[in-house]
């Protein structure tokens, strides 16, 4: 190689490497808010992860297209495939956490396993983690978990609301009744056990528990026991992926009435009721937001993202339960940034600033209306101590074609749940040697 060519190559390499060597403040000039998407479009849970990821990204696209970003700050995003594996989730987190001018805005792990793995990492890196409707329920105690947000509802709230719903259907009392709890044998399925076990004692119903090994493709033995021997008044299911349609099919196979069968909100999507066909008619599930497209923000997505051909995924996912859940998660992140901007100015927010935004969210009816969320979700308000903010749950029923509400918003037993959150978080604080924050001193 001649000296000239060597010199040219060296110069070229130096030019290419220059941006990497620039100090961080130089890069922070970009008026962008980077929001990563830890998604799963492959593997056994891909059919569920895909519509969620589509809704999550389409919402950001809509905010960019309709509003020009969050108060003028453009949203940028990047997907990382976790395949619902905890190790890959952690790898994705490490890959995306420092991207963008201010680092990752927030992490939405979409997996209880990944959530548990990231609790300490996100706290160290000062990145808020949003676990809407999954993860550890006692993470709602913001005094011990300042970086974790469980809004708008936890598994504890959901279980209490489902039992309240059953109680109302059974004439207001559950004494002497039987409830079977069938659950994915994992941290996810075990999470609400303390609530249903406590309620069983307090309300006097007989509880039978059935863990289902992952992935749950075979449940005949369990359903023979439920449908032919125990014959409970109701069955509650905490399932995910193929476990759900299999359970509905097996319930039908032993003749267990589907209108006495209630699933967790991760067992209440179109993906769960499509394979069993008519066998799923009457099956119920909890939810914390609406299904379908009849909301203003959905029309905005339709007009600004889908019609111009900018939709992330297939059109048939739009308006399904999991697509809408992706959108509501994205909206929570956007509103946390917007709230933070009210205090820190209309510029890209850091993780610490967004954390403040999450902690001071006040989605009252006026704010929900301005977001186009009227009728889609109930109001919520977070605080330093309360990272759940809302906690209300509604029950929906599948009629063979679509989900319909069969209950109003159910307010769980706040006093009991708060007591349980604090017991769990105190235990965690003791194990990790954490001194809980004094919320009276927080501004």
């Amino acid at each position: 190689m001649s000296l000239y060519r060597f010199g040219s190559a060296l110069l070229g390499a130096a030019i290419l490497a220059a941006p990497m060597a620039l100090p961080a403040p130089a890069l922070a000039q970009a008026n962008e808010q980077f929001i990563p998407s830890l998604s799963y479009r492959t593997g056994p849970f891909g059919p569920n992860g895909t519509p969620f990821a589509d809704g999550y990204l389409d919402y950001f696209k809509m905010i960019n297209a309709r509003d020009g970003g969050i108060n003028g700050v453009k949203i940028t995003y990047e997907e990382c495939e976790t395949a619902y594996n905890t190790d890959r989730g952690v790898e994705c987190y490490e890959r995306v956490k420092a991207k963008g001018p201010t680092g990752a805005t927030a992490i939405v792990p979409l997996s209880t396993g990944i959530t548990y793995a990231l609790i300490e990492r996100t706290a160290q890196d000062k990145i808020p983690m949003l676990t809407s409707g999954y993860g550890r329920s006692d993470g709602s105690d913001g005094r011990v978990f300042p970086w974790m947000f469980t809004l708008p509802a936890t598994y504890y709230s959901q279980m209490d609301a489902i039992v309240q719903f059953i109680k109302s259907k059974e004439g207001g009392a559950l004494k002497g009744k039987k409830i079977s709890y069938i659950y994915h044998d994992s941290a996810f399925g075990k999470e609400p056990l303390p609530v249903i076990q406590r309620l069983s004692k307090e309300l006097g119903f007989e509880l039978s528990e059935f863990p289902v090994p992952n992935p749950g493709v075979e449940q005949k033995a369990i359903w023979l026991r439920i449908g032919r021997q125990i014959r409970p008044n109701y069955v509650i299911m905490w399932g995910w992926g193929v476990m759900n349609p299999t359970a509905i099919t097996e319930a039908a196979a032993v003749g267990f009435p589907r209108d006495k069968f209630i699933g967790v909100w991760w067992a209440g999507s179109e993906q769960d009721v499509t394979p069993p066909g008519d066998a799923a008619k009457g099956y119920m599930a909890a939810n914390f937001h609406g299904a379908g497209k009849d909301y203003k923000f959905m029309r905005d997505i339709e007009n600004t993202v889908l019609k111009p051909g900018q939709g992330t995924g297939e059109a048939r996912h739009v308006g399904t339960v999991l697509y809408n859940r992706g959108a509501i998660n994205a909206a929570m992140v956007v509103e946390a940034v917007r709230t933070a901007q009210e205090r820190y100015g209309n510029k890209p927010m850091t993780g610490e600033q967004v954390r403040w935004g999450f902690e001071n969210l006040n989605l009252n009816p006026q704010r929900l209306a301005s977001m186009g969320f009227e009728g889609f979700m109930p109001p919520l308000k977070t605080s330093c101590a309360d990272h759940e903010g809302g906690g209300v749950v509604r029950i929906q029923q599948w009629d063979g074609k679509k989900w319909n509400w069969v209950s109003d918003w159910i307010e769980p037993n706040r006093k009991m749940l708060r007591e349980m959150y604090e017991a769990g978080s105190a235990q965690y604080a003791k194990e990790k040697n954490i001194t809980p924050r004094d919320c009276a001193k927080q501004s």
Binding site: T42, P47, F210, P211, K220, L224, V242, A252, G255
Partner: protein, 311 residues
Amino acid sequence: MDAVLDFLFGPLKEIWAYPTFFVEVVVGGLLTGVMYSLVALGFVLIFKASGVFNFAQGAMVLSAALSFVGFNELGAPLWLALVLALALMIGLAFVIERVVLRPLVNQAPIILFMATIGVTFFIDGFFQMLWGEDVKRLDVGIPKDPIEISGVLVNTFDIVAAVVAGTLVATLAFFFQSTRIGRALRAVADDHQAAQSVGIPLQTIWVIVWSVAGIVALVAGIMWGSKLGVQFSLALVALKALPVLILGGFTSIPGAIIGGLIIGVGEKVAEVFWAEKIGGGIEDWFAYILALFFLMFRPQGLFGERIIERV
């Protein structure tokens, strides 16, 4: 001591007290076992003819079912979708033989096994890319209503599945025992080089056996897909076939059936009557314990060929 006795004999009292329910569990186990056998058959066919443990059998079940539903969704009637899916599985057999197996002729079985792992990931990814990752409903008109026969509850779908599996086994047994190609397949299984030296075309035999395994995968995919919906998890039903193979033997078609029945009944009885005492959810690993127990007495499986090597 009391706890041990209660664990061992307590459930027997329950069985004695509720004999009809016990019969229901056994019948349910038998019918589930037949479904496991459907998947296990594909493994046996390829192992029998080539000595290769085909890791890709689960992926073939998924790809066959995805293609069947995919063609149907594109507007093909069920019979045409079936024909097209069959053609695709046979085409896949040709491609696997030409691209993967032919370059590895006379290599050690472990090399071929590793190659099938590669094939698994390719098939999983390619067919999902082709047909999408959505959960698809598969309805071939098999009724799924529960019926009671002498007080014992069974499901119509499970009975149909048993009939389908029985027919498939009878056909395969006839094919292997009584046809020229079947005998050639067995010759190749015994010794590749010896079979080649007497003029049996190894490549053709491999294409045939992979095609037949593809057809078996299609049948298994339709039956399991009708039950679970057609989705990625279908590939995981292969895990349910492994204890069946360990127990029944890797080279026996009747072994796959008998093994399936024993595993099906064993895991259901264990789950229903014993699981509660140790926290539940035991049927998956209990199937392997059961298979290992049989291995202690019959290392080659109940119906597997005994391998005797001269030292």
